[in-house]
Subunit: 305 residues, 2 copies
C-alpha cells in the first residue's frame, strides 16, 4: 500500500462517536479539536524525521536537525492559519550519541520554538538504531476559522509563497542559499494567519512533498481541477525540482477571483500560479494541468515502490 | 546523560512566555493545555514504542503492538484522571512490512481506541529500519482538576492498583496470564477518573518504569519520602519484578490519611503499600524506604549505561 492507500483505508475504519470534540481528522495538515465551551479550536499535528530517510548526519548538523524537526510541525500549523503554542518531542537516539550532540540538537529546536512563543511541553526518550525525531505541534485558531485543504472553489486563483525547488536543489548541490533553504526551512506562521485574516483564503496547505503531489491533494479534497501556468523558481532550481521536489515548506493557497493579493508579504513573494478550472476531472482527465497538459503527481510518497 | 539528566537540563532551557496556555510542562505523565474561555483542560502525552527496544516481532504480533502503542498513551491520560479523546500516530515501517501486518497493527490499535471513544485523528508515515510507533494521546479533564505527581503530602497513604511484576514475569517467561499482561496492558481509565471524583486523590502517576523508580519520581515531585511495607505480587512474580519491573501500567496514587479506599474497583484490587513519612530526605537518606531500608531506584532508564 502507498501512504495514500493506508490513509484511505484508515479513514474508513476509524469509528467516530457522535458529538465528538475532534471535528476534523485524517487527511489535512492538522487535526482539529474543539475544546468544550471555548473560543478557539486546537490544531494538532505530528511529523517524523528519521536519520537515513529524511536527513544524513554527514550533511545535517545537530542544530539543523533540531530546527527542521520543529519547522516541519510549525509549517503544518501555519498551513491551517494557526498560532503555534506548544510542541512535544519523542526522540530515539543510538547509543553512540554524545551529550554535546543532544545539547546542540535541542539548541536548534528551542531557538526556533522561542522565536514563535512555542513551549516544549513534554515528550519521550528512547534508544533507537537511527536518530528518530517525532514532533507534535499544537496551535490555536479562532473557533471554526482554520483553513482547510477542502475549501477551494472553481474559479479560485492559486498562489504559492516564496520560490520553489530550493530544498531539492540544496539537497542535490549541498551548497549556497539552496543548502540553507534545505537545512533551515522557515515556517510561514505570520503568512498563514494573514491568509485567513486579510485575504480570506478559501483553502491552504504547506508544500512538504512537492507541488505536483500536494496540489493534487488539495484539488482532491476540494473536488476541483487546477490549471497552472507559472512557477516561481528558486534561483538555480529546475522546473522539475520546483514541481516535484519536496520540503520547500512554502504555503499553497487559493483565494476568490479578484482578491487583491500583494506581490510580497514581509519580503516573501506571493505568486499566482494558476486557477481552479471550470471543467470536471472526467472532462479534463487529471487533477492538475500544467500549460493544459496533465501533470503527473511525482512528489514524494514514502511507501510507493 | 541519563533520561532524568536530559529532562532536568531541558526544564532549565525552555523559555516560557507569561500567560502561556501550557500550564504544566515536562516532568509529569502529560502536559496540560488550558484552552481559552473553556471549561476543560487538555492533557497531552506522547510515547515511543520501538522494535528491538520495547518489543520483538518474534513475540509480539502486530495486533499486540498496535494495542500496546495506544495503551501506553492512554495510561498516561488515566494517570492524570483524564477522559481520553483522540490519538495521532507516527509510524515508521521497514520496507519488508506487509500490508497484512499494517492492517493487523491498526486493528489492535483501533479496537482499543473504539472501546474508549478515542478517535485516531491524524499522524505521519515514514520508512524506518526498525518498526517505530510514536503515539500522541489527548484527553480532557475539568479545568484545574488533573491529578499531578506533585500533590502528595506527608502522612498520605500510598496505593497501587492491580498486581505488580506481571509484565516483567511475562517478558521473562513468555507464557500464561503474565504473558497476556505483558502483551496487552489495560489502561486504567475509569479508575483514574474515580481517584479524582470519589477518593480525592492527592497525587497519581502510572507505573511504566517500575515502582522503585516511579515512586521515587512521585516523591521527588511532591518533596516527600515514601515508606512502603507491602506489595501486591502478580501470581508467580518475584518481589524484584514487582519493585523494579516496568510496563505494569497500573496506577500509583496517594490519598489523605483516613480516606476510605475500597479493596477493589470494578474487579481491580486497590492495595495500600505504605505512606508518606514525616521525616525529610536528609534525615531518612532516601526517597523510598522498603521496610525501613533505602530502596534503590532500579527501574528502567533508557539512557543509563
Amino acid at each position: 500500500m502507498t501512504e495514500a492507500e493506508i490513509l484511505d483505508r484508515l479513514n474508513h475504519r476509524v469509528r467516530w462517536p457522535i458529538n465528538h470534540p475532534v471535528i476534523h481528522g485524517i487527511g489535512d495538515d492538522c487535526a482539529i479539536y474543539r475544546p468544550r465551551g471555548g473560543t478557539e479550536d486546537l490544531l494538532l499535528t505530528t511529523d517524523l524525521l528519521i536519520e537515513g530517510v529524511h536527513f544524513l548526519t554527514s550533511t545535517h548538523r545537530p542544530g539543523d536537525i533540531g530546527h527542521k524537526t520543529l519547522a516541519r510541525g510549525l509549517s503544518d500549523i501555519a498551513a491551517m492559519s494557526g498560532a503555534p503554542r506548544f510542541c512535544l518531542l519523542s526522540l530515539g537516539l543510538p547509543k553512540a550519541t554524545t551529550d554535546k550532540w543532544i545539547d546542540n540538537f535541542y539548541s536548534g529546536l528551542l531557538k526556533l520554538a522561542a522565536s514563535h512563543g512555542v513551549v516544549l511541553a513534554g515528550g519521550d526518550l528512547s534508544r533507537a538504531d537511527q536518530i528518530t525525531c517525532d514532533i507534535v505541534c499544537g496551535g490555536s485558531v479562532p473557533r471554526g476559522k482554520a483553513l482547510l485543504r477542502s475549501g477551494a472553489l472553481r474559479g479560485d486563483e492559486i498562489y504559492v509563497s516564496g520560490a520553489l525547488g530550493g530544498s531539492a536543489l540544496g539537497l542535490a548541490s549541498n551548497k549556497g542559499a539552496a543548502k540553507i533553504r534545505h537545512l533551515r526551512p522557515e515556517p510561514r506562521i505570520a503568512l498563514g494567519q494573514y491568509l485567513r485574516q486579510r485575504l480570506h483564503a478559501t483553502a491552504a496547505m504547506d508544500l512538504s512533498d512537492g507541488l505536483s503531489l500536494d496540489l493534487a491533494r488539495l484539488c482532491e479534497a476540494s473536488h476541483t481541477v487546477a490549471g497552472i501556468d507559472r512557477l516561481p523558481l528558486f534561483p538555480g532550481a529546475t522546473p522539475e525540482q520546483a514541481l516535484h521536489g519536496g520540503e520547500d515548506y512554502e504555503l499553497l493557497f487559493t483565494v476568490r477571483p479578484g482578491t487583491r493579493v500583494p506581490t510580497t508579504f514581509r519580503g516573501i513573494p506571493l505568486t499566482r500560479i494558476g486557477n481552479m478550472l471550470a471543467g470536471t476531472i472526467k472532462s479534463l482527465k487529471a487533477r492538475v494541468l500544467l500549460a493544459g497538459e496533465p501533470l503527473p503527481a511525482l512528489g514524494h510518497d514514502h511507501f510507493r515502490s
